[in-house]
C-alpha cells in the first residue's frame, strides 16, 4: 500500500506504519490470526470480551472505561472477523492526535500503556481468569450467538454461507456455538489465551501523523510480551463450483422475505483473475447502475435492496435481496437472468466503463479512511499482495471484456437460500 513502512518487532510481530497528516487521530490495530475451526472459534471470540473486563492496573470494567475516557475519549475496541478460513481478533486503540490538543501530551503513549495492560495483565483467580468475569461474559456471548436472528439481513447471509460451506471450516460462525461455550471455564480459557498471545501470527497497523521510527520504538515498548514460534495456519480451502444447486427454505414469522444466492468463484484476492472478477461483480451487482439494481429494483420494483458482493479470501460471491415472500419465483428468475447475461458476456460498453470508474473511485477513497486503510493492508497481508494504490489501479485499468468473460465461466451457483414467512415454503 502507498507509503507503508514495514518492520518486524523483536518478538516477531509484523508492524506496518502509514504516516499521514490527513487525520485527527492515530489508529493502532493489533490483529491476531487463528485458523477458523469449530474447536477454537468460541473461545477465540469470547476472549477479547473477558480481557476488556479489566487488568491489573484497572481491575474493573468501570475503572478501565474511566481511564480511557480521561485520555480525551480514547477508545480501546475489540472485534472478531472472518476472512477466508481465518478468524481475526483485533484490538484497536483510537486516540486523538496530540496536535489538536495543545494542553495535552503523549496521549498515544498513555493509550498504548493501557492497551498493553489489557493484553498482557488480565485479572486472574488462581490458574484462570477471574471467575465472575468469565461467567458474565459467557452469558453475554450466549446472547450474541442467539441474537444473530434479530437482524434478518445478517441472519440470512450467515445462514446461506453456513449451508453452503457446512463441510468446510468457512461454515463455522465467527462467534462459535452454544455447545462449545458450555465447555469453557476460567482455567481452559486462560490456557487458550496464553497460546493465543504466544503463537498466533500477529500484525500491528498504525495510521496517523507519526514517524515510523517513533512508532517502532513505541511498539517495541508496548508489545514486548514473549512469543513462541507462530502457529501454522492451513490455507483456506478454495472450491470450484459446478455441482448440483441446493435449495434451502427457512420459515420464520417475518414480514419480508430474504433471498440469498451463494456462488463459488474459486478466485481469491491474490489471484491474477481477481480484478476481472471485481469488474464482473461490479457490472452484476456492485452499484446502482448494475444489472441487479436496474432489473430487480428499477424495472420490476421487486426490492429495495439487491446487490452482489465478493468474499475475496474464500472465492465466493453472494447475491442478496429483500422481497415480498410471494415474489420468490419472479425475483429468482430475474436474478438468474442477470447472471446468465454475464455468462454470455452480454453487457454494454457503458456498463463496463461505469463499473471500472466506480471501482477506481472506491480504491482511491479507501485512502481517506484509517479503518479502510488497515483493512486493505490486512487483505494484502493475507493474500501476499504487496502493491500500492497506483499498481492496483493499473491492474483495474488493464481489465478487458474478454477477461470478464473468462472469469464469468468460473462463477457457479451453489446454494439458493430463502428466509420466508410461516407457510411460505410451499411456493416453489
Amino acid at each position: 500500500m502507498t507509503g507503508l513502512s514495514k518492520f518486524t518487532l523483536r518478538n516477531g510481530i509484523n508492524l506496518f506504519v502509514h504516516p499521514t497528516d490527513k487525520f485527527k487521530t492515530i489508529l493502532v490495530q493489533l490483529v491476531l490470526h487463528r485458523h477458523l475451526s469449530e474447536a477454537d472459534a468460541t473461545a477465540c471470540s469470547l476472549l477479547p470480551s473477558v480481557l476488556q473486563r479489566g487488568c491489573g492496573m484497572y481491575p474493573t470494567r468501570r475503572e478501565l472505561a474511566y481511564k480511557l475516557e480521561e485520555l480525551y475519549g480514547s477508545e480501546l475496541m475489540t472485534d472478531v472477523v472472518k476472512k477466508g478460513e481465518r478468524q481475526l481478533v483485533s484490538f484497536t486503540l483510537d486516540t486523538v492526535d496530540d496536535r489538536y490538543l495543545p494542553a495535552e501530551g503523549n496521549l498515544l503513549r498513555k493509550g498504548l500503556g493501557i492497551m498493553k495492560e489489557v493484553l498482557t495483565d488480565p485479572v486472574l483467580d488462581g490458574n484462570g481468569f477471574k471467575n465472575e468475569y468469565v461467567v458474565q461474559e459467557k452469558e453475554q456471548h450466549e446472547r450474541v450467538i442467539r441474537g444473530l436472528i434479530n437482524d434478518k439481513v445478517a441472519y440470512s447471509l450467515e445462514r446461506c454461507l453456513n449451508e453452503m460451506c457446512k463441510n468446510e471450516p468457512f461454515g463455522v460462525f465467527k462467534y462459535g456455538s452454544l455447545e462449545k461455550l458450555q465447555e469453557i471455564n476460567p482455567e481452559n480459557l486462560y490456557g487458550f489465551y496464553r497460546r493465543f498471545l504466544a503463537e498466533s501470527p500477529a500484525d500491528l497497523y498504525v495510521i496517523g501523523g507519526i514517524e515510523p521510527n517513533e512508532v517502532l520504538s513505541l511498539a517495541e515498548e508496548t508489545f514486548d510480551f514473549p512469543r513462541a514460534s507462530t502457529a501454522f495456519i492451513p490455507d483456506t480451502i478454495i472450491r470450484n463450483g459446478a455441482g448440483e444447486v441446493r435449495y434451502v427454505h427457512e420459515e420464520l414469522d417475518v414480514n419480508q422475505g430474504k433471498l440469498v444466492l451463494g456462488f463459488r468463484t474459486g478466485i481469491t484476492y491474490g489471484d491474477d483473475d481477481y480484478f476481472p472478477l471485481l469488474v464482473y461483480n461490479g457490472i452484476l451487482g456492485g452499484f446502482p447502475h448494475s444489472k441487479l439494481f436496474q432489473n430487480v429494483r428499477e424495472k420490476a420494483s421487486l426490492a429495495y435492496y439487491v446487490y452482489s458482493r465478493l468474499e475475496k479470501h474464500k472465492g465466493l460471491m453472494v447475491i442478496a435481496a429483500g422481497i415480498e415472500v410471494d415474489q420468490y419465483g419472479q425475483a429468482l428468475e430475474i436474478i438468474s437472468q442477470q447472471v446468465e447475461n454475464m455468462a454470455k458476456n452480454d453487457f454494454s460498453a457503458e456498463e463496463f466503463e461505469n463499473t471500472v470508474r466506480g471501482l477506481r473511485n472506491q480504491l482511491l477513497v479507501e485512502e481517506d479512511n484509517p479503518g479502510l486503510l488497515v483493512n486493505r493492508a490486512l487483505d494484502d497481508t493475507l493474500a501476499g499482495r504487496n502493491e500500492d494504490t497506483q499498481s492496483l489501479l493499473s491492474r483495474l485499468a488493464a481489465v478487458t471484456r474478454e477477461d470478464v468473460a473468462k472469469v464469468a465461466e468460473k462463477v457457479h451457483l451453489d446454494t439458493v437460500y430463502f428466509l420466508t414467512n410461516k407457510g411460505g415454503g410451499q411456493d416453489e
Binding site: E70, G73, N255, P288, Y305, R360, V365
Partner: protein
Amino acid sequence: MNNTLENRLLAEKITWRRLDAGLEVFVLPKPGYNKKYATFATRFGSVDSRFVVEGEGEELEVPDGVAHFLEHKLFEEEGGSVSDRFARLGASSNAFTNFTNTAYLFSTTENFTECLEILLDFVQEPYFTEESVEKEKGIIEQEIRMYEDNPQWRVFFNLLEALYQQHPVQKDIAGTVDSIRRIDKDVLYKCYRTFYHPSNMAVFVVGDVEPERILGQVESNIGRRNYRPLGEIRRIYPSEPPTLAREYISQELVVSQPIFNMGYKDLDVGYEGERQFRRELLTELVLDAVLGSSSRLYNELYEEGLIDDEFDAGHVAEKDYGHTVIGGETRDPERLYRRLREGIERAKREGISEEMFEHHRRKITGGFLKSFNSLEFVANNFLAYHFRGINFFNYLDVLNSLTPEEANHRLRSHFGDDNCARSVILPKTGTQNSKLKTRE
C-alpha cells in the same frame, strides 16, 4: 462577499456565501483527501406533514412518507435516472431523508465540477410521471417491509408513538404501505414548490477544492434560474400536550430476547439556535455522566446481565419537540426499567460533581475531534445544525461554556415520572424454532 468560519483548534476553515436567491453555500477545503463530497439539502422532512402550499394559499395535509418519496423520485429524469450520469463520471450518488431534512449527495475522486453541476441541476429540475410514481411504490413498500422486521427501528418508533399524542415526529419517515399508496404526482409537485426554493436550502462541499471556484460555480448555476423571492414557509405543527400518549407500548417480533427503549419527553422546548444547542450538549453530557460506559449505573446493569455493550442513550432537540431515548437488548425489560428509574433517581440525589463534569466534557471533546476524520460526517452535521440556526464549528466553545450547575439542574428537571414512557419488543411466542426445507 465571502465569509469565513474558522476553528483554530480543529485547524479547519469554511468559506461561505449567501446567494441572491437565498441559497447558502459552504466550502471546507481538505487538502490531501482523494474524495470530494457535496451535499444539497432542504429543510423538509417527515415532520412537515401540514403546510400552506406555495402560490396557492391552500393548507394541505400530505400522506405520511411524502418527503422520503419525493427524495426517491427526484433522481428520475426524462429517459432515465440521474444516478446513471453520476456513474458515467465515476461518482457515487445517494440521498437521505430524516425527520427534518432531505439531502442529496455524491462523492467522487474525479470530474468533480461536472458532478456538482449535475447535483445542482437535478435537485432543481423535478420530473415525475404518473407511471414512474406508481412504479416507485413497490420499491418503497419493500423498504418499509424491511424496517418492519427491524426490531431496533420498531422499538424506537413505537416509543415515539408513546411519547407523542399529536406531533408527526412519531410517524415513520418512509410512511406506511397504505400511506404511500395515496401519494401521487400532484402532491409531490406541491411539496416540491413549497420546500425546494433556494432560500430553504443549502449546499456543502468538502474535499481538496478551491472555495472561490466552487462558490462561483454554484452562484452561476442558481443565478441563471431567475428565482423569485419566496415568502415565509408556513408549516403547521399540531400543539403537542406535555402529557404522554401512552406510558407503555409493546410488540412481538421474531427476536432472541426483548429489546427495550425508554424515553423522556422534553417538556421545556421552544428554544432555537445557540440556546437549543447548549441544551442539547448539556443533555448529552448529563446522559454520558449518568448512563455512559464509565458510569456507576451502566456498570451495575452490565454486571447484573441486564444490558450489553450496545446499550446507549441519546438526546434530540428541536424547536417544538425534544426527547431522550435510552435502551438496548435485555433479558428482563421490567427489571431493567425499574433499575434505570431507581438509578436515575439516585443520580439526581447525588448530583454530578465538578470532577465528573470535567471528565465527561473532556471525553466529549475528544469524540468531537475524532469525528472530523469523516468528510461526510462534517458536511451532513454542519448542514443539519445550520438548519437549526446553529454553527457546528462552535461545538467546543459551547461545550466549554457549560457549567456543572446547569448540568445538575437539567438532570433534576428533565428526568421526571410523568414524562417517561417505554417501549418493548418481545419475542414472538412459539416462533423461535424455524422450519427448514432443503432440496438437493
